[in-house]
C-alpha cells in the first residue's frame, strides 16, 4: 500500500523530494522547504494518500551544519494503517509554513517546537511559548544552550499577571 503511494508522490512531487530512505519498512522523505505546504496538503487530503493523522511534529538541531534545523512530521493514515516520515531542513533565519490548518494537532506541537528551538511557523494562529514562561530567555533544546540557562546566576523574580 505504502509503496503505491510513494510512486504517486514521486510522480507528482518528484522535483521536491531530495531523498527517500527505507529502513525496516519505514519510509523517510527529505523534502525541500519551498512548496512543503502543498506537499503536506496533498498528503492530507488527496484520496490516494489520506494521511489524516499527525502523530508528531518536532524539531532537531544539527549545530554546525547548514541548514541548521530540521523539522520532522510523523504522519499516519487511519484508513490504510501506514505511516510516513517527512523531514525538511531550514536555517535560523527561515520561517516554515504552519500546518495547523491541515491537522489541528499541529497547533500545540508547533508551539512546542518554537519554544524549544526557536523555529518560527508562519501564519500560526497563536505563536507563543507553550511550556516555558513567556519571558524566558533562549531556546533550551538548541545544542548551544547551556543546561543551566542564560539567567542562572541572576535572582529569579516572579511577575504575577494583573487580575482583570
Amino acid at each position: 500500500m505504502n509503496r503505491e503511494k510513494i510512486e504517486v508522490l514521486k510522480r507528482k512531487f518528484g522535483s521536491q523530494i531530495l531523498s527517500l530512505k527505507e529502513e525496516k519498512g519505514e519510509i523517510t522523505l527529505l523534502v525541500k522547504l519551498e512548496g512543503l505546504k502543498n506537499l503536506l496538503k496533498a498528503l492530507r487530503y488527496d484520496d490516494e494518500m489520506a494521511y489524516d493523522m499527525l502523530i508528531d511534529l518536532c524539531g532537531v538541531d544539527y549545530l554546525g551544519e547548514d541548514p541548521r534545523f530540521e523539522v520532522v512530521y510523523l504522519l499516519r493514515s487511519l484508513r490504510d494503517g501506514d505511516r510516513l516520515r517527512i523531514k525538511v531542513r531550514l536555517n535560523e533565519d527561515q520561517e516554515i509554513e504552519t500546518v495547523s490548518d491541515l491537522w489541528r494537532a499541529a497547533e500545540w506541537l508547533e508551539r512546542e517546537t518554537y519554544d524549544m528551538f526557536g523555529i518560527r511557523f508562519a501564519n500560526h494562529p497563536d505563536m507563543r511559548r507553550i511550556l516555558l514562561p513567556d519571558d524566558f530567555n533562549g531556546h533550551p533544546l538548541r545544542k548551544d544552550f547551556p543546561a543551566e540557562g542564560y539567567d542562572f546566576d541572576k535572582p529569579f523574580e516572579v511577575k504575577l499577571e494583573e487580575e482583570s
Partner: protein, 165 residues
Amino acid sequence: MGIEERELERNVLITSVEKLVNWGRKFSVWPLTFGLACCALEFIVAGSATVDMARFGSEVARPSPRQADLMLVAGTLTKKMAPMVKRIYEQMAEPKWVIAFGSCACTGGIFRSYNVVQGVDQIIPVDVYVPGCPPRPESFLAALIKLQKKIERETVRDRKLISAP
C-alpha cells in the same frame, strides 16, 4: 488588628498575652493541601496513621489557602509554576509560615537546570528548611516541632515585620 495588638494598646499583660497567643498558634498549625512533585507523597504519608501529624496539632490539611497557616512547599518548583505558588502564598491569611520540604524546595536539588527555581526562598520567605531527597515523613514532624519552637519565641513585632509589604 489581632488580639495581641489590641492588648498592646491597652498596655496590659503583654508578655503573658504573647505567650498565650503563641501557645495557641503553635498547636494549631494547619497545613495547606499542596504539593509539587515526589516530595508531596511524603507529606501525604505524614498525615497517615503511622506518622500522624495530628498528634502535634496539625489536625487537618486544609484545601483552601484562606484556612491554612502553613505552606509546605514539597517538591520541585519550576519557573512556570512559580507565579501560582506565589499567588497561593499571598492568598493565605496571616499569620502564616512556610516549610521548604526537600532538596528541590530548599535549593533546586538535583535540578541545576534552566527551568527550576533554585530554592523557593527566592519567591517566598521560608521559616524551616528540610533537606533530603525525599525527606522521610518523620522529618516533617521534626520540622513542625522546630516551627513550633519558632512560633513560641515570636513577638508581636516580629509578626508585623513579616506581614509588611
